[in-house]
């Protein structure tokens, strides 16, 4: 650029030629821009105007179908089906009020104008569709389709909708989906207003896998807002599938057995912690939550006195009642305060601290050993066991066996329950522990409260010899190509050191609860398979420790009747299933809960015959005579408290 360097003495003239050159260059560039503008705005004007007129291209977000949910044998439980939503673009309608009127006539109701007004209120950009009604039923879809020409601006939007194939089946476990909330939108950037998100249960916990990746569409619509063609599409990626450990048939058997009852049932595989069935009744229909739950439905669910939204299996805390005697027995045997041949005389009650503590059997059990004390569920015997142990040793063993702690199942809001100890009472009530309270604890009353899944855990620990597996209900996450994206191997949460002798004593006694004379759960018996069980009764109101026996169940109003427990595992020799079942206000465990457990186990062993297979277990096993024989053994009056 030396040629621009002037020889003048003044400094400015040196710059001047380059400034002139620069200015000229700048104006030339502007000139080029002018040429381009002339080309676009004059020469291409016609074409561009047409493009602008026809420019009714919309950018659509295409929601991805959520992943499927299968049972352990890969049968679908939850899938995604196309649902129809009605949308309106008010700007596309030539006569909006007329269109709204027609639309309201077809859909029934007068909410369309309000929805548009509400959307405008929230700053809807022009030409952005307003969602009028979601999940239209078939007649409405047909009606809209047939009258499309009279409804300019109205369109049917096909979106993937969550569908629960078996309605209320395992509703608390599967959960439900709903529209993403404001809080979720702020926390997570992948969601947009109106997206579906898992709100509860599996749908919530496994949301990142089930969600999938939404796609996008550039859609051209005509003058009345009808889609003409998709110009460009970024395909969506459906969510990954989840395979549960639940067996559909076992779950169905459990749901059926619990039909009409309030309560819960949890069945787990004691060898892995796999949840085979989980029922909480009453249940809700997860389909009503899909895309916009109606406020009336929501209110009905919230105000239902039976709390259908509560998952009783993990959130219901109840006194374990006599099922707790298993804990006493194990604790006593392991702590050597109790031996197999320890005998005690039950006269129907025990005087302690100036007060009588009853046995459920008014006339008493006479002189009784440990085995029979468990089989017949003698309260007085276990008052003595409890006293010898003291509350803190009972608490230690209860925790070791899985009670009073969260089991770790991956569902929200699991309750830990309460296993009292002297330290617990000091902390909670700033009061020392009174020995008399130990008596209540020993028979699973007083402060003791556990969840059904904890008692299932207890049954599983006794069944497998001491290992606490974390209950898991997801077996695997499957990628779209069917490969395993994530597996869930068994997780050991803890281990209780139980001697083989202790286990043998407790298991023998539990087997006789079902099969022996005087046992309290004859109704749980299966032909050819030794079922081990323990009944329990959870008192509903007050009178902790003072047990009034002999009242006729039927005379007590239902809401004051006790809850019925049964914990069980089978087969005794090589357990494959452990169950806890509670029937609220069912009365005695043997009468109300045992038949439920029987039905579930019967179905389970039809599908998974015990190993080594028992020759007797064929279809004949499930037939009437077999059950009748079981019932004959038990006149049904062997109630217990």
């Amino acid at each position: 650029m030396a040629k621009f360097r002037a020889k003048s003495q003044s400094t400015v003239p040196k710059l001047e030629p380059r400034i002139a050159l620069l200015t000229a260059a700048m104006l030339t560039v502007f000139g080029l821009v002018c040429v381009r503008l002339y080309y676009l705005q004059v020469m291409q004007h016609q074409e561009m105007s047409q493009l602008a007129d026809r420019n009714r291209i919309r950018l659509h977000r295409v929601p991805a179908p959520r992943g499927l949910v299968f049972d352990r044998r890969h049968r679908p439980l939850v899938d995604t089906q196309p649902t129809f939503d009605a949308e309106i673009v008010p700007e596309d309608s030539t006569n909006l009020s007329e269109t709204i009127e027609r639309l309201e006539n077809l859909l029934g109701g007068d909410h369309v104008a309000d929805k548009i007004a509400a959307a405008d209120e929230q700053g809807r950009p022009p030409y952005e569709p307003v969602l009028v009604e979601e999940r239209l039923d078939w007649p409405k879809v047909v009606a809209l389709e047939a009258h499309q020409l009279e409804l300019p601006g109205v369109s049917l939007e096909i979106t993937p909708g969550r569908h629960y194939l078996y309605g209320k089946l395992a509703a608390h476990l599967l959960g439900y989906v709903g529209e993403v909330s404001r809080e979720d939108l702020i926390k997570q950037t992948v969601y947009r207003m109106g997206d579906e998100i898992g709100k509860f249960g599996l749908e919530r916990g496994w949301e990142p896998f089930l969600r999938g990746q939404p796609g996008g569409q550039e859609v051209e619509v005509d003058a009345v807002g009808r889609r003409l063609r998709v110009l460009k599409e970024i395909p969506d990626t459906p969510g990954e599938s989840v395979v549960l450990t639940i067996d559909l048939d076992v779950q169905q058997a459990a749901e059926q057995a619990m039909e009409g009852k309030n309560g819960a049932l949890v069945a787990i595989d004691p060898n892995t912690g796999d949840v085979l069935a989980m029922v909480s009744h009453p249940a809700f229909d997860p389909d009503v939550f899909g895309a916009g739950v109606k406020s009336s439905d929501w209110r009905a669910l919230m105000s239902d006195p039976d709390h259908p939204l509560q998952n009783r299996a993990i959130q219901g805390t109840y006194p374990p009642g006599s099922t707790f005697k298993i804990v006493d027995s194990i604790a006593g045997l392991e702590e050597k305060t109790l031996a197999e041949d320890t005998a005690y005389t039950c006269s129907g009650g025990l005087w302690f601290g100036g007060r009588e503590y009853h046995c459920w059997r008014k006339q008493g059990h006479g002189t009784i050993g440990l085995h029979n004390a468990i089989v017949r569920s003698c309260d007085v015997y276990f008052y003595d066991v409890g006293q010898r142990l003291g509350v803190d040793r009972i608490a230690h063993w209860a925790h070791a066996l899985g009670l009073g702690n969260k089991t770790g199942i991956e569902l929200d809001n699991e309750k830990p329950g309460v296993i009292p100890s002297s330290a617990w009472k000091q902390k909670r009530f700033r009061e020392r522990w009174y020995p008399a309270e130990t008596l209540s604890v020993a028979i699973g009353q007083g402060y003791v409260s556990v969840t059904p899944i904890q008692l299932a855990q207890l049954a599983a620990v006794v069944a497998n010899g001491g290992t606490r597996y974390r209950p898991q209900f997801v077996k695997a996450v499957e990628a779209l190509d069917g490969s395993i994206a994530k597996a869930y191997p068994p997780v050991v949460e803890g281990h209780a050191d139980l001697s083989p002798e202790t286990l043998a004593i407790v298991r023998d006694a539990m087997a006789d609860v079902v099969n022996g004379p005087g046992g309290t759960a004859h109704r749980a018996a299966l032909p050819g398979i030794t079922v081990c069980a323990k009944t329990g009764t959870a008192q509903v109101v007050g009178n902790k420790g003072t047990l009034v026996a002999g009242e006729d169940e039927d005379k007590i109003p239902e809401k004051y009747r006790d809850h019925a427990w049964l914990i069980a595992f089978a087969p005794k020799e090589h357990p494959q299933i452990a169950i806890a079942c509670i029937v609220e206000h069912g009365g005695h465990g043997g009468a109300a809960a045992a038949p439920v457990v029987h039905d579930v186990m019967q179905r389970f062993f039809q599908l998974y015959p015990p190993t080594p297979p028992m020759p007797e277990l064929t279809q004949a096993a499930a037939t009437e005579p077999a059950i009748a024989r079981v019932l004959d053994d038990d006149p049904g009056t062997a109630a217990e408290r």
């Binding site: 650029m1 030396a2 621009f4 360097r5 400094t11 400015v12 040196k14 710059l15 001047e16 380059r18 400034i19 002139a20 620069l22 200015t23 700048m26 104006l27 560039v29 502007f30 080029l32 821009v33 002018c34 381009r36 503008l37 002339y38 676009l40 705005q41 004059v42 291409q44 004007h45 074409e47 561009m48 105007s49 493009l51 602008a52 007129d53 420019n55 009714r56 291209i57 950018l59 700053g123 950009p125 022009p126 030409y127 952005e128 996008g216 550039e218 110009l231 460009k232 970024i234």
Partner: protein, 367 residues
């Protein structure tokens, strides 16, 4: 210092009114971009821009009172402050849309990269105000300017703000050219520039590369970045010779244009005011540039002359790149249209720059 009557007599009304005319064009375009229908209240964006214009006018007149020659003393200090603000953005900045560009001052979101443009002009002009050696600046004397440029460029690229980084480089190149280089330096720098380009590609973010690809072939990704350019061209072209009329544009209404009130404001304006309006707008910028160049030629000191060049080069490069992008001549980079686009920082910084230009014009007689 007593008020100097010459400040009024020699006040540059051409620049003043041109600046205000451009601000009004901006106001109209923003009102149009934010228009939501006849029954909707005026968008807060419009009201805020009015406030920025008022504040910018005050800032511009304040700068006029100020003797620009003092800036030579403070140039490096101001540069350090601007760098400090850019670093502050890194640390406490406010991010929108994936990039961190703003410092929240409560009442105002300060965008320090706008101030960085003024700072880089000042510091370069300060460096080049010395008379170059015979034959022009040599390569060795380019090291300091390269470092002075490199620091803010690296900082804005980190935000990431490719547009501002580009502007900083172009301003510097312009000033280096005008201040005089020797032939050897010029060839080496040009060659180095060519070599850096493919290397630059390597450092671009995927979306920035995408924009370059879709510039070469908009149809490659019509749903993504190519889409914006196509829609912008349709907006401008459908405006025709005379435009669709104020608030009658459809492209803007349909939300086809991204950043309608900032980076793509020209498309909104050109759609409603047509070729006539676009020509008027370009003429206003041409007036600013020729007037600035005239001032540069008629100022007696090298500092004032180069400063005027630096200031108009900010205007020129932003206009050229912004409109070039909107009309599909250049790839999409986020650069505002000076004095027109929505935004307090860029508007006030630009009005201060124009105030400086007026200040130079007034004081060229003072010797």
């Amino acid at each position: 210092m007593a008020f100097d009557r010459r400040l009024i007599i020699r006040f540059d009304w051409t620049i003043f009114w041109t600046v205000l005319a451009l601000a009004v064009v901006g106001l109209l375009s923003i009102a149009s971009a934010a228009y939501r229908g006849p029954h909707k209240p005026i968008d807060p964006l419009v009201i805020r821009q009015c406030v920025w214009i008022a504040a910018g006018t005050v800032a511009m007149l304040t700068v006029v009172l100020f003797d620009y020659r003092a800036l030579a003393t403070y140039a490096y200090a101001l540069y350090v402050i601007a760098i400090g603000l850019l670093i502050a953005v890194e640390l406490i900045g406010h991010s929108t849309g994936g990039s961190r560009r703003w410092i929240n001052l409560g009442f105002f979101h300060l965008e320090p990269s706008e101030l960085a443009k003024l700072a880089i002009v000042l510091v370069m002009v300060r460096y080049f105000r010395e008379e170059p050696p015979k034959g022009g600046w040599s390569l060795r004397q380019m090291v300091i300017p390269a470092v002075l440029l490199g620091i803010p460029v690296a900082l804005v690229l980190k935000q990431p703000d490719l547009g501002t980084a580009l502007i900083l480089i172009l301003i510097t190149v312009t000033l280096v050219f005008v201040s005089g280089l020797n032939a050897r330096t010029m060839i080496v720098l040009a060659f180095a520039g060519l070599c850096v380009m493919p290397l630059g590609w390597h450092y671009l973010k995927p979306y920035q590369r995408q924009r370059l690809v879709s510039f070469v072939n908009p149809q490659a990704d019509p749903l993504g970045s190519g889409y914006h350019v196509i829609q912008s061209e349709i907006a401008i072209g459908s405006g025709g010779p005379w435009g669709k009329g104020f608030l009658k544009g459809t492209q803007a209404r349909l939300n086809f244009l991204p950043e309608q009130s900032t980076d793509f404001i020209f498309s909104v304006f050109a759609e409603e005011f047509g070729l006539a309006g676009s020509m008027l707008l370009l003429s206003l910028y041409a007036i600013l540039i020729t007037r600035g160049a005239w001032i540069a030629r008629h100022t007696r000191d090298r500092f004032g002359s180069l400063l005027a060049i630096g200031l108009i080069s900010i205007v020129f490069w932003q206009v050229a790149i912004n409109i070039g992008m909107a009309t599909g001549l250049l790839p999409v980079v986020g650069i505002t249209l000076p004095l027109v686009s929505y935004g307090g920082s860029s508007l006030i910084a630009m009005m201060m720059a124009m105030g400086l230009l007026i200040s130079i014009n007034i004081r060229r007689y003072f010797f």
